[in-house]
């Protein structure tokens, strides 16, 4: 047997490099919070944060494990409605409602995931779509509990001891702290044994089975994790806007989440952030388009998939590298 070679630096040095990213990220968030005093900008940033958590949650499922979901808004909605119902109807503290919301999302994801994740390709897309539709109809028709189509009013704002998240700045910090947490979780997962197994399912499901990966279990687990983070996003959304209605969690919302992931780039954490930011800001910029918004939106989706199927982050890097190669040769 040959002697064991020393491990390469790049491989071993991955963890500290991540820590530097996190520190930069936190610093940037803290500074942004200090220097941006206008509540409107803080609110936009807060929405970007919530959408990023959503995009990240779907990216774990779709980008890494390669399982498309057209019903992700259902879990977002389950998170929002659970906390709304518990805090308003049952006077529960939001901080107790949060674990309940996540638990219910996990429970539903588990039940739904067992039969649904047997499906692949278009069938999976359709299965998740059907699930999302049914959940939305439940939100709309279970009037006593959810307030029905008119929506749910009066969700309390968050408070933690002396800190009130009624202030937009505090809420901004809260959401971005949650986002940082999600990023850390996602990043750790991706570079672990589980992350490699997930990516292997994406590349070749039957080769993954052949190296001993229980693909079904793993898919269900990542579906559940993804649902949990979507529920967290729903919780943050509900307590920010304090009003929710079924329209915010419909099929279009599911498509929007998919779009965020796809535009930013599948299997890319920072891509999810980029996608979520673009899709949150785009309507603000597209106000000028008003009636053209739908056309532009559909066109962007199609074009990115046709021209840059890897998404903006990876696609642009690829183009840049290709042009560099051309220059060199």
């Amino acid at each position: 047997m040959k002697p064991i070679k020393p491990i390469k630096k790049t491989v071993a040095g991955r963890f500290p490099r991540d820590k530097i990213y996190y520190i930069f990220f936190s610093l940037a968030v803290i500074l942004t919070g200090l220097f941006v005093s206008n509540s409107y900008y803080l609110q936009v940033l807060t929405f970007i944060g919530i959408n990023s958590i959503l995009a990240l949650s779907l990216n774990m499922l779709m980008g890494y494990a390669g399982q498309v979901s057209l019903g992700h808004a259902a879990f977002y909605g389950i998170g929002a409605y659970t906390t709304a119902i518990l805090t308003v109807h049952y006077n529960l503290s939001p901080w107790l409602a949060l674990p309940c919301a996540i638990f219910i999302a996990i429970f539903v994801a588990f039940l739904v995931g067992i039969p649904t994740l047997k499906l692949t390709g278009f069938y999976l897309g359709m299965g998740t779509l059907g699930f999302g539709m049914i959940v939305n109809i439940i939100f709309r028709e279970w009037t006593d509990l959810t307030g029905g189509a008119s929506g749910f009013v009066g969700i309390p704002s968050l408070e933690l001891g002396p800190v009130s998240f009624y202030s937009m700045r505090n809420y901004f910090y809260l959401v971005w702290a949650a986002l940082l947490l999600s990023i850390i979780v996602c990043k750790r997962l991706v570079n672990s044994r589980i992350g490699r197994a997930l990516r292997s399912i994406h590349d070749s499901a039957h080769a993954a089975e052949a190296v001993g990966i229980n693909t079904r279990n793993l898919k269900i687990q990542v579906f559940v994790l993804s649902a949990a983070f979507a529920a967290l996003a729903g919780f943050l959304y509900a307590h920010l806007v304090s009003f929710i209605s079924p329209g915010s969690f419909d099929f279009m919302m599911s498509v929007r989440i998919v779009t965020m992931v796809v535009i930013g780039g599948m299997a890319s954490i920072w891509g999810s952030l980029l996608g979520a930011s673009l899709l949150t800001l785009l309507p603000e910029w597209l106000h000028a388009f008003s009636d053209f918004e739908m056309v532009v939106y559909g066109l962007i989706l199609m074009l990115i998939m046709i021209v840059l199927p890897q998404g903006l982050t990876k696609g642009l890097i690829d183009i840049y590298e290709r042009s560099k190669k051309k220059d060199n040769s």
Binding site: F122, G125, M294, Y297, L299, L301
Partner: protein
């Protein structure tokens, strides 16, 4: 009894529409293994084109019919040429997102052309409804049922009796082998798109007189049509037909005997059940789950 008959009439009318949309899904899936999430939007374009050609320009009905089908199929051809054939990496996820994007795009375009208002046009013939045992059957319903059945029969003959039809089927079974025997598989894919989307246009045509047509009418119809196709067995012509009628009648019965607020849920619950229990659909055997 009178109620049940009325529910059945209502169910068959809607069922025929679902069926013909489902046939469109099945045709395309059979030869390309693509599920076109934008199919419902072609139904919408068909309906609105008829509104313009027949309702506003007052063209004779048969001419308006043909023109509408030509216009919609032409749109479908462009869609295939520019959105599907140009895809570098035809993964499922990529195709799902492209067709979803196309559906939003087409809806946006339709909104720009026809505006946000709804339109209505009179039925093809203005006879009064027929009274059968106290239940009313619309003449337009008869039109719908007859046209959808005729289309399916015509398609059946096209696929089984004509050379082109057989060529498409050959491509669907094995592209390479078909290519070796000299069948231009690229053209066959295009033809499948045109046929599938043409079926969507027919669905739009027959539905226009009984409902209100607007730019956002297509999505739900498309989804219900898909549920019907899955129910019958994706890829099967007769399966799509049967699936459509079953879905239509179950919905009407559901409204009649359970609750109208859960009407939309019926289709999706059926969809999930069929996906979980028997992904091949009612018609096809269990082991056909191709992907």
């Amino acid at each position: 009894m009178q109620e049940i008959l009325q529910y059945i009439f209502s169910g068959i009318t809607n069922g025929a529409i679902y069926a013909i949309i489902a046939v469109g899904f099945s045709l395309l899936y059979n030869s390309t293994e693509i599920i076109n999430f934008a199919h419902g939007e072609f139904v919408m374009i068909g309906a609105l084109s008829l509104v313009t050609l027949w309702g506003s320009f007052h063209l004779p009905l048969p001419l308006a019919f043909v023109l509408t089908i030509v216009v919609v199929s032409g749109t479908g051809l462009l869609f295939e040429r520019f959105a599907i054939r140009t895809v570098k990496k035809p993964d499922h996820i990529v195709l799902v997102i492209i067709t979803v994007g196309a559906s939003i795009f087409l809806r946006g375009i339709a909104m720009l052309i026809w505006g946000k208002d709804a339109y209505s046009i009179p039925p093809f013939s203005s006879n009064p409804p027929i009274d059968i045992a106290g239940a009313r059957l619309l003449i337009q319903s008869i039109w719908i049922i007859v046209i959808s059945l005729l289309s399916v029969v015509a398609l059946y003959f096209f696929y089984n009796k004509t050379l082109t039809g057989k060529a498409i089927r050959a491509c669907a079974i094995n592209k390479k082998a078909a290519w070796l025997t000299g069948i231009p598989s690229g053209k066959m894919v295009m033809l499948s798109f045109v046929l599938s989307i043409g079926m969507g246009a027919v669905a739009g045509l027959i539905i226009a007189p009984i409902t209100m047509c607007s730019y956002d009418m297509g999505t739900m119809l498309g989804l219900k049509g898909f549920c019907a196709a899955m129910l019958g067995g994706l890829g099967s012509l007769w399966g799509a037909l049967i699936g459509g009628f079953i879905l239509g009648i179950l919905e009407a019965m559901g409204v009649g005997f359970v609750s109208s607020s859960l009407k939309d849920a019926i289709a999706f619950v059926l969809l999930l059940l069929i996906l979980f229990i028997r992904p091949g659909g009612i018609i096809q055997s269990k082991d056909v789950q191709r992907f």
